[in-house]
Amino acid sequence: MGASSPDLIVHVDTFARVNMVYEVLSVISVIMLLAASLAVLITYNWRVCVLSLAVQYLAAFWLINLDYPLAMAAVKLVVGWMVCAMLGATPVDLKQPDEQLPGRLFRLLASAMVWILVFSIAPSVLQWVPTGMVILWGGLALIGMGLLQIGMTTFAPRIVVGLLTILSGFEILYSVLESSVLVVGLLAIVNLGMALAGSYLMTVSGGLEV
């Protein structure tokens, strides 16, 4: 037996409302992303860095889940956390400069500028990636923070984390456009490969700045 028309309208209306609430709530995930990526950028503690990366993947999962089915979005989360586990298992001593505060302040200011840039260009990017504004903010913010990370260091662990951040941001945007299982699988391999390559480079260089 099919539902009668008024029932169907009520169902559709409820579904739309739930969806809207979910999208509004997803602003929280953008805030989480910003905070986590900032922590990744400014911390000098490797464990905090990896933990922040894990939070970043959780927030990215939330945003990806807006377009992907839960099972496929969960793949991103699981892969992200596996990446964190791999990186976390590698002992790294992030360089502790003598004067920590000015460096951190500089990174904070640079991040603020990236965020301003992201929020100001997001409406224009909407023409390139037709999706919700929340997804655009999240994806672009991660790409921006990742670029900032790789632009400010020559240290292998930070560069690997920066590249993973960029990939994560791209995956948020790309989830709107492509939902092929093979792409999800290959992107998972790329993420895991990046983490493996990063761990290898860190081990080879002894976790020291080059």
Binding site: A156, L163, L173, I189, V190, G193, A197, Y200, V210
Partner: protein, 471 residues
């Protein structure tokens, strides 16, 4: 049985076996060279999608392997490309035994070649970006073997190659949109810009080229030579594939001019930098950039004529780079640094190594009677009527590279001491064969051009089928 299984899956299995045997250097070299030559032989003999009868048995090798709803397709027309890539691998792996390359080189290199074949054969084309990225990540332990320090070149290489991925994937999505709606000019421009950026990162196009000379200076020369030759060849073939697949891209009015401009800048800048280099490894890096510039210039010539020149470049380019990498590895094996200060009088001690370096530079500069000359001439012939200015700048680039070669020659020949032949026999034999090859291809280009033209068989939309070279 299907073709992707033979030329993608089996080589990956071989690479895993080689990895576990990697402590036995000569066994690995023998197995790798033999298996790659076997793949070459299969490529030459095995008809695809046709019934094969062997006595009472009959079977068929199908062209398609389905993976998660996507296809890997190797048809008869792709077989030449596959043969070319596996011959390339056999050639480099055989040399690896002579120059004593690191034990991880052959297993990882084998897997990279299989991934390169997968990248060329995957449909839709956009998945190639992901496969190339996997190959790039796989190459990291090859470039920085255990015990070596991580340098800036490797990190920059990783950054630039990874940054290409988002652009290529997004361009793939836009391309599908343009196919559906060719009248949408905004989408079309987006597609071209994104593809351009993706390939610019991959091919180390100016200004994203800084990592190439640094990488060559840092990593083992033989390994970096293999990596740069393989990746650039595959990316250039993918570029040809994009041009072949998308009519809107071929017909995009500004594309030819942009390729010409970028190619000219690359050739001129690399040539000018080469003239002032004081390190033969970094000179090698500039040569790679110059060669990529020439490939872009060839693609800027519309239609089959450009594609023909593009294919013609492969022989001279790969042979000169391989010979150069072999010579550099020979120097490294003798504990000689690559700076000019350390190369003084080298000709008197290592004559073949010195001649190999100098002639490789000269060949890449396009000196007459050497391998690259006939194809350079073809390119100039086709560019001059339309772009005299570009040709002048390209010639300045070639002169710069020639200058780099002359300076190297003067340094290696400068000695007060007498002659004492310290060359090791196995690399000397290989270098002698390579030098002979450079000269033979330079004098008799017709012998090899028909085979190179066959590489264009899969790109039927470019109209290159059955076109004979004009030399």
């Amino acid at each position: 049985m299907n073709a992707p299984l033979i030329w993608i899956v089996f080589p990956v299995i071989v690479s895993v076996i080689l990895f576990f045997l990697s402590a036995r250097r000569y066994l690995v070299v023998g197995l790798a060279t033999g298996s790659n030559l076997f793949f070459v032989l299969l490529g030459l003999l095995l008809p695809i999608d046709r019934l094969i009868k062997l006595g009472p048995w009959a079977f068929e090798v199908s062209s398609t392997l389905m993976v998660f709803g996507r296809k890997f397709v190797i048809t008869d027309s792709d077989a030449h490309l596959v043969v070319f890539l596996y011959f390339f691998a056999a050639f480099w792996f055989f040399g690896a035994g002579v120059v004593r390359a690191h034990r991880l080189f052959i297993p990882i290199g084998q897997c990279m070649v299989a991934i390169a074949v997968a990248a060329i054969s995957v449909e839709p084309f956009l998945y190639a970006g992901l496969l190339i990225e996997v190959a790039v990540l796989l190459s990291v332990p090859m470039l920085v073997p255990p015990g070596r320090r991580v340098g800036q070149g490797v990190l920059r290489y990783l950054i630039f190659q990874t940054l290409a991925l988002p652009f290529v994937l997004y361009a793939g999505w836009v391309s599908a949109g343009v196919e559906a709606n060719p009248a949408n000019q905004r989408l079309l421009q987006q597609g071209v810009v994104l593809l351009g950026l993706g390939f610019a990162f991959w091919l180390a196009v100016f200004p994203f080229h800084s990592w190439v000379p640094i990488l060559v200076g840092e990593a083992q020369p033989y390994v970096s030579g293999f990596l740069l030759s393989l990746l650039q060849t595959v990316v250039l073939l993918l570029m040809l594939g994009f041009l072949d697949s998308f009519a809107w891209l071929r017909d995009f009015s500004v594309l030819s001019q942009v390729l010409q401009l970028v190619g000219t800048i690359m050739v001129a800048s690399a040539g000018i930098m080469a003239a002032f280099q004081r390190d033969v490894a970094r000179l090698f890096g500039q040569a790679v950039i110059l060669e990529s510039g020439f490939a872009l210039l060839a693609l800027s010539v519309p239609g089959y004529q450009g594609a023909e020149v593009f294919a013609g470049f492969f022989a001279g380019r790969l042979l000169a780079l391989a010979l150069w990498a072999l010579a550099l590895s020979n120097l490294a094996a003798d504990g000689i640094s690559f700076g000019f200060d350390h190369l003084k009088g080298l000709l008197h001690r290592l004559p073949l190594t010195s001649i190999a370096v100098v002639l490789s530079v000269f060949s890449i500069a396009g000196l007459p009677l050497l391998a690259s000359f006939p194809v350079r001439l073809m390119l100039f012939d086709r560019l001059i009527p339309e772009a005299v200015n570009a040709v002048i700048w390209v010639m300045i680039g070639c002169l710069g590279m020639l200058m780099g070669g002359i300076r190297t020659m003067m340094v290696v020949a400068h000695s007060q001491e007498g002659w004492r032949f310290e060359e090791r026999l196995p690399p000397a034999i290989l270098m002698a064969i390579g030098l002979l090859g450079l000269v033979i291809i330079g004098i008799f280009p017709r012998w090899i051009m028909p085979y190179l033209i066959q590489l264009l068989d899969p790109f039927q939309s470019l109209g290159v089928l059955m076109i004979l070279p004009l030399i």
